[in-house]
């Protein structure tokens, strides 16, 4: 574990989330109603790392949008940091599967985008942005354009862009889904290191059961149409976790438990 001592403790610690009876209906493009989420109840503690796994169309991404306040729920209420969500939440940062870097800005310019939009202090955040880039091995790439970076590097920049805001809550929607397996493993370790340092609350959506178990305090298993919580698997394996964790009995057990749900749901089939 290489911790960078120059990065100060986060100004804000993680914030708790409460999701109570949240239901979401969409009006589909071809008419008719899509029942995306049904009666979701979930409480996430401050500084907790929670993953959501589920089949495509189980409403994982919808839930994330709802928590970020980008779309309103049909019924129910969401609180982030004790305040009810209505419209975009200031204390939340999002990382998408696509890095959505702005091609016309340098790497450093991309990381500083939220600083500009939120009108945060430029000098201190510029320093923080540089420290973050250095901590993910991109110190020499500050002045490069995203077009010159590899997929893994681009996603690292996207994560730095999220973390520069000191978010109390970090929402990640399959952030490593487009990366190759090796890069993905490295990104998992990097993310764990940054989370152990900052302890913001993380809600992490993934298709990978192993990734979810490796990173999380709890894994939320969802079923689809309408999206419901099928199970919540608590995971107290010691941290930092790494390659060695994957062979531990506890890890294998958790992975099996989640996988059995998918078999039961018919998402996975052994025949």
């Amino acid at each position: 574990m290489s911790r960078d001592p120059r990065i100060a403790a986060p100004a804000r610690a993680g914030v708790p989330i409460t999701i109570a009876g949240v239901t979401k209906h969409y009006r589909a493009a071809r008419g008719g109603d899509v029942h995306a989420l049904s009666e979701i109840d979930l409480a996430i503690a401050a500084g907790e790392f929670v993953s959501i796994v589920g089949p495509s169309g189980c409403g994982k991404s919808t839930l994330l949008m709802l928590i970020a306040g980008l779309i309103p729920p049909t019924a129910g209420a969401i609180e982030v940091g004790g305040a009810r969500v209505g419209g975009a939440v200031g204390n939340v940062a999002i990382v998408f599967q696509r890095d959505v870097l702005l091609d016309w800005r340098t790497v450093l310019g991309n990381v500083l985008l939220p600083v500009e939009i939120k009108k945060l202090d430029p000098a201190t955040h510029r320093r923080k942005a540089r420290d973050l880039l250095r901590s993910v091995g991109l110190a020499d790439f500050e002045e490069k354009y995203p077009g010159e970076l590899s997929g893994g590097m681009r996603q690292r920049v996207a994560i730095c862009r999220a973390l520069v805001q000191d978010p109390g809550l970090l929402l990640m929607d399959e952030p490593f889904g487009a990366l190759d397996a090796l890069t993905r493993e490295q990104m998992n370790l990097d993310l764990q290191r940054m989370w152990l340092r900052d302890r913001n609350t993380v809600l992490f959506i993934t298709h990978s059961i192993e990734e979810a178990v490796l990173l999380s305090d709890r894994v939320v298993v969802m079923s689809s149409r309408p999206g419901r919580i099928a199970d919540i698997v608590a995971n107290e394996l010691p941290r930092p976790r790494g390659a060695h964790t994957r062979s531990e009995p506890g890890f294998v057990e958790h992975v099996e438990r989640v996988r059995r749900h998918f078999l039961a749901l018919g998402v996975l089939s052994e025949t």
Binding site: V89, V92, Y145, G147
Partner: protein, 270 residues
Amino acid sequence: MTTIATDASAPTSALAGFINRNGPVLAIVAIIFALWEAAVRALDVPDYLLPSPSVIAAKIVVSWQLLLVNAFVTLEEILLGFSLSVLIAVPLAVAAVYSRIFERVAFPFMVSLQTIPKVALAPILVIWFGYGILPKVMVAFLISFFPIVINSVIGMRSAEREMIYLVQSMGAGELTTFLKIRLPKALPSIFGGLKVGIGQAVVGATVGEFIAAEHGLGYLQLVSQVRLDTPLLFAAVVVLSLLGVLLFHVIALIERIALPWSRVATEVVE
């Protein structure tokens, strides 16, 4: 960064680089001119039918003042028509992206108007606006307007949904989203439209001069035609072409300076 630094620090290699990049094209042009020259001389083709490149070049040297004066007239019409296009097309594109009525009604209507041959309107414009500069500017405007407006709309719609969500999650309003995302994202596409549009503006101004004019390269061509002064006709074509190429490259240069990242992106793709 590094590429920009090398470009600036090695001005002597700029010419070498130009020849390197455009060598094949220059060679082909040289071969065509050489064959043309040889064929005209060998077959003894009269100048009024097809002047040789050397005769055209000589004509340009002798008549440079006449050509230059008329070129400036045409240039003025082109630039006025083109500027009018940009000033109207880009704000209209913004309106089309942000307003439902514009998107659903005005924009499709405009696109259907695109099928009208604008050149065919030139005689009408002469009746309305007289023999002065105005009808030429109007034709240049009409003909360069559509590529600019359509490319601008496509560009402003090209921002991914996640990109918009991202800045909204940071608390950005519509204006910030436009300035930080939609507009910069649209710039490569807008420049694409400008590059097509400037060429069209040259066509528009020239055609406008064909209909009714007392100055300009198009007018000079008509006069040369009547006098059967074919070398001068060709000389006017050469100057018009140079004008078009020059204007295109001015826009390309502005694009390179304004969007250094765009070059980076294409280089990586290559």
